[in-house]
Symmetry: C2
Subunit: 320 residues, 2 copies
Amino acid sequence: MGEFELIARYFNRPARRSPLGVGDDCALLQPAAGMQLAVSTDMLVEGRHFLPTVDPFRLGHKALAVNLSDLAACGARPLAFTLSIALPLADEAWLDAFSRGLYALADANECDLVGGDTTRGPLNICITVFGEVPQGEALLRSGARAGDDVWASGTLGDARLALEAFRGTVRLSGDAFAAARERMEAPTPRVALGIALRGIATAAIDVSDGLVGDFSHLLRRSRVGARIELAAAAKLLGASREAVGEEERRIELALSGGDDYELAFTAPPSARADVQGAGERAGTRVTRIGSIEAEPGLTFVDAAGRVVPRHFESFDHFAA
Amino acid sequence: MGEFELIARYFNRPARRSPLGVGDDCALLQPAAGMQLAVSTDMLVEGRHFLPTVDPFRLGHKALAVNLSDLAACGARPLAFTLSIALPLADEAWLDAFSRGLYALADANECDLVGGDTTRGPLNICITVFGEVPQGEALLRSGARAGDDVWASGTLGDARLALEAFRGTVRLSGDAFAAARERMEAPTPRVALGIALRGIATAAIDVSDGLVGDFSHLLRRSRVGARIELAAAAKLLGASREAVGEEERRIELALSGGDDYELAFTAPPSARADVQGAGERAGTRVTRIGSIEAEPGLTFVDAAGRVVPRHFESFDHFAA
């Protein structure tokens, strides 16, 4: 199977929402009047972002999911994406499953594959996504204000828990492992929530390298600080709530786990009912976990409001 | 140096032509009224698309150049790009030179780096470019009509000649090697020519895998064939004209060399003066090398118009 047959067989379907899709030098996109185009890109490397043993259907899903999660954090509606992929060889069974996983999530988000590149090399998947957002309504990292509430969507910590189980540092029951592994390998991007939060949230970011680390980026861009209630954050735990005995370790999983693809966001206290309503419309749980403060930095407090000295590591691909 | 410091130091400059650049979950692009957004992506893998010994400044240039070449083939004006890069380690001297090469070409094309991703892994560079083209004016592969002339820009064959010199299959003088290597490592995307050909060319494609192979894609999309004059094609040779003795081998270099990043395009005979004028405005030589025929397929003819049986291989990353 040659390069062009590979593309024709697995990665070429008619674009439904774009003037021109796969098969020319460029794809053509046409945002509707008054819309801005939100763009994000993520590269996934075997052994770093996924295990060599991963089901290729799930890998196709995840490669697109992590990109859609960035659109979600901006409140953008998915429109299209490009896929560049380096493959050590053209394995038909692998390509069939990978492309099915990719298209299943693309179809669920009405998002067209409009172009890409295929080459031989160590397995590497680079997707660039495009979404539409009304001009001036994109959720940015820079909009948090002192007094805002801090919120997080869904559950946190399970993807990291699954990774630790693969590494052998924790032992899980079959059910807990299956639930955690599902969260690691098939995360659900919070696209509907991001769109529902337009006009409500003041700032948002997607949680991919751990809540504390990612939220710190939002704080720096907004030039504010935050106080996180550890007891509230503990409510964010998923399967890890039952699976990990030690309270400290559970909270660490929730706050610095990574690979969660949830949204962390801020909104004024006057918008609490609106935030809850947005979560309900999107079918995604939202949990209030703290508040924004004028003073930069991130502090953690116990149920009585006392500051608890804690330090959480964020994931860094080039950390020493 | 951590991941975020690496981005801040080498890959974060203010966007001048986009509402939002590096540093949020998404970049925001706003095509002007009446404009479509042309999108293309290319992935470069060490050992396949470039040699491990390449000067990183030139690699930065080339990684963007091969993408801009796709915009050129659509007649789109560059606007922005994203960069995803997997690096085996964060080598400051390498990153400094790579980013300078990248920005030099970006600046020459008034094109902003608006986002990206940085990870550790086998060296892999994935760029996605965005350009603007007035609605309905993009040059497509599908517009060639029987009777059109076939044209190519610049010179062909030198990049492949340099590769063969590196491989030791040809011996070149110092000057010929330097000229050929410059074409292999620092190709000039024909952006100005692509824009100048709007409304003149009926179809266009960029030549990256060899003229014959790439032009065959254009023919298939246009459902036509072509007759190429070997003597005219021989005029496309660059340094290889002097450096390679055998006529057959020289023509093979021009027609199937690869890595040229020139444009092949079609236009009606009535537009010959317009095509020449577009080449002059863009400062790029244009050469007429054949004509489009209704019958599918590609044939080669000698100076007397007699069909010459020839077969040229095109580059295929997954060919057996």
